[in-house]
């Protein structure tokens, strides 16, 4: 293989950068984003002033000013004037909470798509695959405002062809006929399945199990995301989830992704070994839920997620409400370089109060 070709392939792979080089590059990009947002988003500047001495330049990733992800539910955080906003994303929003609102300008929307393509393509290849969407078509209705679910489906649709919805709009019941004819059209082809973890569990797998149906999706790859919250309540582990999908639907390869509407595009894909990996566009660290000190490898804590994508809103360094464990820098058996981690789930609500109180925005 020529040196040029090798270099091109390495650039193509979003998981190949040397750890130290990545840290240096990312720090420069993050510092630039912090300054950019501090100049353009007043509520963000107020947070920096109140909690970080208004500093915008830092010496290491762990020192970067993070904001709690829930602030996007409480404040309108925008770094571009309203007339440049082309799309607004909203989170589903847990009951009783206001949804997050994420404002996208043209360049942020396009950066999201490019990051997503580079990440997902490293799993799927450049050829688009026949795609079965494990959801109903009603989710993508709407013009410039999308739910996180709709945005996810559209984002992944570009990897697919012959897009077919597996659920019926009004009842959310599986459309067995549509699924059957999709499979007939694409026998012996590699197919892409995409859906939200809970939806495909509740409305496809459980229904198929109850009906005693067995399907064979053949050479298929399932990508799913959106969170486990309700599955955790019913005590279903990732291993069991995969086993039952394999058993009933014959899905061969299953990848969860961890991501949030506040950092659309730079998602963390689950590798073949079951670990999440930050890509060239992202990094994670883990903090103690009470002291917010950085926790070492192997210790559970709140996940802080960094992304190079957000330019129209200050969402480049976010403290999530999810607990996770850093498993290591480099050394995952899947061969991808850099940090890899696991997600344990949502921090119980009672404890959340404590850490978000730290960031009262002065009015």
């Amino acid at each position: 293989m020529s040196a040029e070709l090798t270099a091109a392939l390495v650039r193509e792979d979003p998981y190949a950068e040397d750890c130290a080089e990545k840290a240096t590059r990312l720090l420069a990009e993050m510092n630039a984003l912090t300054s950019f947002h501090a100049e353009r988003c007043l509520p963000y500047l107020r947070i920096l002033s109140a909690a970080f001495h208004a500093k915008t330049q830092f010496d290491c990733l762990a020192d970067l000013p993070f904001i709690p992800v829930r602030l996007f539910k409480e404040l309108e955080l925008r770094s571009q004037p309203q007339e440049l906003i082309v799309k607004t994303l909203t989170s589903s929003g847990t009951t009783g909470q206001r949804p997050s609102r994420i404002f996208l300008d043209k360049s942020t929307a396009s950066a999201q798509v490019h990051a997503l393509v580079r990440i997902v393509r490293s799993f799927l290849g450049i050829k688009r695959l026949p795609m079965l969407i494990l959801d109903h078509p009603g989710v993508v209705k709407g013009q410039n405002t999308f739910s996180a679910r709709g945005a996810g489906i559209l984002g992944f649709s570009q990897f697919g062809a012959d897009h077919t919805y597996a659920l019926l709009s009004d009842t959310l019941h599986p459309d067995w006929e549509a699924i059957g004819s999709f499979l007939d059209r694409h026998r012996r082809e590699r197919i892409l399945l995409f859906g939200f973890t809970f939806i495909l569990w509740q409305h496809l797998l459980l229904v198929a199990e109850q009906d005693g149906r067995k399907l064979d999706f053949g050479d298929s790859i399932l990508i799913h995301g959106g969170g486990w919250k309700k599955l955790e309540e019913s005590k279903v582990s990732n291993t069991e989830f995969k086993q039952r999908l394999r058993h009933t639907l014959g899905i061969r390869s299953i990848h969860n992704y961890y991501g949030m509407v506040e950092q659309t595009g730079s998602i963390f894909m689950e590798c073949e070994e079951g670990y999440f990996h930050p890509s060239d566009y992202s990094e994670v660290i883990v903090r103690d839920p009470r002291s917010l000190e950085v926790r070492t490898m192997g210790a559970p804590g709140l996940i802080e997620s960094m992304s190079t994508i957000p330019m129209s809103y200050p969402g480049h360094v976010l403290l999530t409400e999810d607990l996770g464990i850093i498993q290591g820098p480099d050394g995952c058996r899947c061969g991808r370089r850099g940090t890899f981690f696991t997600v344990l789930g949502r921090l119980p609500t009672a404890e959340l109060r404590g850490c978000s109180d730290t960031y009262q925005v002065p009015s």
Binding site: V86, I126, K127, R128, V140, L154, Q158, A161
Partner: protein, 87 residues
């Protein structure tokens, strides 16, 4: 009108029709000024319909990269050339 159409190649006419079908606009309004996210009606939802329309019209399957880069009518022509469509 008839004269105008005679100056266009057959593939050009097919491309126009595929765009009109994909974006749900009239064939007359298909021209070189069409641009993703700027032309009303050509949003992310319509984009996937347009790609499906191009795929089936020309019996090809555009690569992910091309789905992403197909951001204007002239760009579509350029990309389709790579798939052997002659204009």
């Amino acid at each position: 009108m008839q004269e105008d159409k005679l100056t266009l190649s057959e593939s050009e006419l097919i491309l126009r029709r595929a765009f009109a079908n994909g974006l749900q606009i009239s064939e007359e309004s298909v021209n070189d000024a069409l641009q993703y996210a700027s032309t009303p009606g050509w949003d992310s939802v319509a984009h996937m319909a347009l790609i499906a329309s191009l795929d089936s019209t020309f019996d090809i399957m555009l690569d992910t990269d091309d789905v992403l880069e197909l951001s204007s009518y002239p760009k579509a022509r350029e990309i389709l050339r790579k798939y052997g469509v002659r204009f």
